[in-house]
Subunit: 351 residues, 2 copies
């Protein structure tokens, strides 16, 4: 464990502005007291907010940036306007320079990924980065990756994602041997795309704890600790699940408002409903981890509240303390070492 | 509208056996009294059941088949064992022969699709069939296709799916101009796979009411009446949504059982919960329609109860009465006619 961790914070991202970002960072200090912050953004906005948060102010320095990346900008626009000068770019670059051990942003996902790839580059042996998210299950939580960084993927890329997800789940869930599954349209070997089938063969031969294919409904049932998929399918699955949860909550609200009896029933059971709401609240497991880069990048949900930002900062600190890059390199060597010699293996073994 | 509709019934499919299939068919007679049934399967099993259902017996004939396709058989196995001789094959073949206007099976989906393709073949101008399902939305219902027939798909195949979904939604929802969306990982034009982007361009130029890309959470919000995707993504989205609904229900049950107060609250509000359960019950909107074949094939959920089977039969009767094949051929001509001349167009225009 590192004694002190410094987190670079994109002070300007997110739907709710710097007020919530900074309040979240201060909240995170309660769980991670040994954290320092480099806060990037418009000093005129950030300074008065920080002034009202003395605990945070004590461990933070503001770095003024002229440009903020808008939530709507396309990655190409963001790069044109924000290269070098934006709060997002500079916060990421602080990680590259070693001034910070991780960066947290609630800003534009596409821009954050594009800049992170350019500034930090992928780890040796990793062709493409992935975004890993937490997924609540009946019995606990799973990690799903990729949920939006890459479209499609070769069998080897699936294996790289599996390795990254495995290392991540070991750290975050403290599991010794996380169960790895591949998202597919059936549990049978013959189903799915060629890439998915080939990836399953590679993982079966690997030392990872591969449990086979998982269907869409298996994710929430906890069929595996790590669910591997490509960014297209993963993003659609994630958003579909979010949408369904919102839909169910809306039906429930409607049902409970439908009669006097049901309203009274709701009042009596309201603690139970509050617990349910807590459980469904994405702010409690906020933070998309960009895996596969030379540096730790955590994307908070744009709409996150103070608790959500604090979760994302917690996550960055935890992963920064655990040295995930070395673990991924070691595992990659081990897993791809079981197959033919590859450029990846050679690269990974030099790390 | 046809005066009388004959439905071929695979009497042996499904998790719950012929008892439930036949009970469901009898229930369907309440809504669709002008329906006759050809029931395919093991006569020794079917006869005594039919004897106990006099209303159904009056409009049904049993056709004995020696072989039943198991729910677990791979399509290749099913074809080896069940070609010509199985209840599933013969029920589909009744449609090809014109003895029935549609076939309903709760059996093995892969086998049903494989046999349907061989026996019925695709419609002129349709390269690959699709399975369309109903998806509950905040405001009503949407059709999503494909949810499992094809993996991947070219831009032209997406357009064919859009045409089939459009014709289906016009009939089923009585909509004059259904809103068509393509499932994607963002609403922006630049996002997604090349095929999806190209399909969007084709649909924008077409006379269909194309509303653009829909994200996973947009399906349940009712962002479009018809959601077009390929069978890999669609199947994963569907199962993820089903899984999330089950998960939410389990959390809710747990919450309501957590204290005496919440239990009392549940009792007072139980009508509201029953209404909610009704709304979430897949049996009320059961029936995966195989679109794009020379004949109507409805796949009931394997675990469907009597109500579920009745919904599937209702659906088959409704679509059989509406002449969907002609509509698809006409629309295909219209939509693909706006583009370059193609073999499909020529074929479609001969129908």
């Amino acid at each position: 464990m590192l004694e002190q961790v410094t987190i670079a914070l994109d002070g300007m991202g997110g739907d709710k502005g710097p007020e919530v970002i900074l309040a979240g960072a201060e909240l995170a200090l309660l769980h991670k007291p040994r954290t320092n912050f480099l806060i990037y953004g418009d000093e005129a906005q950030l300074k008065p907010i920080l002034h009202r948060l003395p605990a945070l102010a004590k461990v933070s320095t503001i770095h003024h940036c002229d440009v903020s990346i808008s939530m709507e900008a396309k990655p190409s626009q963001a790069l044109r306007q924000g290269r070098k000068v934006s709060s997002m770019w500079q916060a990421i670059d602080a990680v590259r320079q070693g001034k910070a051990q991780g960066i947290v942003s609630a800003g534009n996902t596409g821009a954050l990924m594009a800049m992170s790839k350019i500034i930090l580059k992928t780890l040796p042996g990793i062709e493409r980065p992935a975004i890993a998210c937490f997924w609540p299950t009946i019995g606990g939580e799973a990690v799903v990756l990729d949920v939006g960084a890459t479209i499609g993927g070769t069998a080897r890329q699936y294996v790289q994602f599996a390795v990254m997800g495995d290392a991540y789940a070991r750290i975050i869930f403290g599991l010794e041997n996380p169960r790895i599954g591949i998202l597919n349209i059936g549990e049978e070997e013959m189903k799915g795309t060629d890439n998915v089938k080939e990836a399953a063969e590679l993982l079966t031969e690997s030392p990872l704890n591969f449990t086979g294919f998982v269907e869409g409904n298996g994710i929430g049932q906890g069929a595996a600790d790590v669910i591997v998929t490509d960014g297209f399918t993963g993003n659609i699955a994630l958003k579909t699940a979010e949408g369904t949860a919102i839909q169910f909550a809306s039906y429930l609200r409607h049902a409970l408002n439908s009669s006097l009896m049901s309203k009274i029933g709701y009042l009596l059971a309201r603690r139970a409903f509050q617990a349910l709401k807590m459980r469904m609240d994405p702010n409690n497991a906020n933070g998309g981890m960009f895996l596969g880069l030379n540096g730790i990048v955590v994307k908070s949900h744009g709409g996150a509240n103070r608790t959500g930002i604090a979760s994302a900062v917690d996550l960055a600190v935890e992963i920064a303390s655990a040295g995930i890059a070395t673990r991924i390199a070691d595992e990659l060597d081990m897993v791809l070492g079981t197959q033919a010699t590859t450029p990846e293996k050679k690269l990974a073994s030099t790390v």
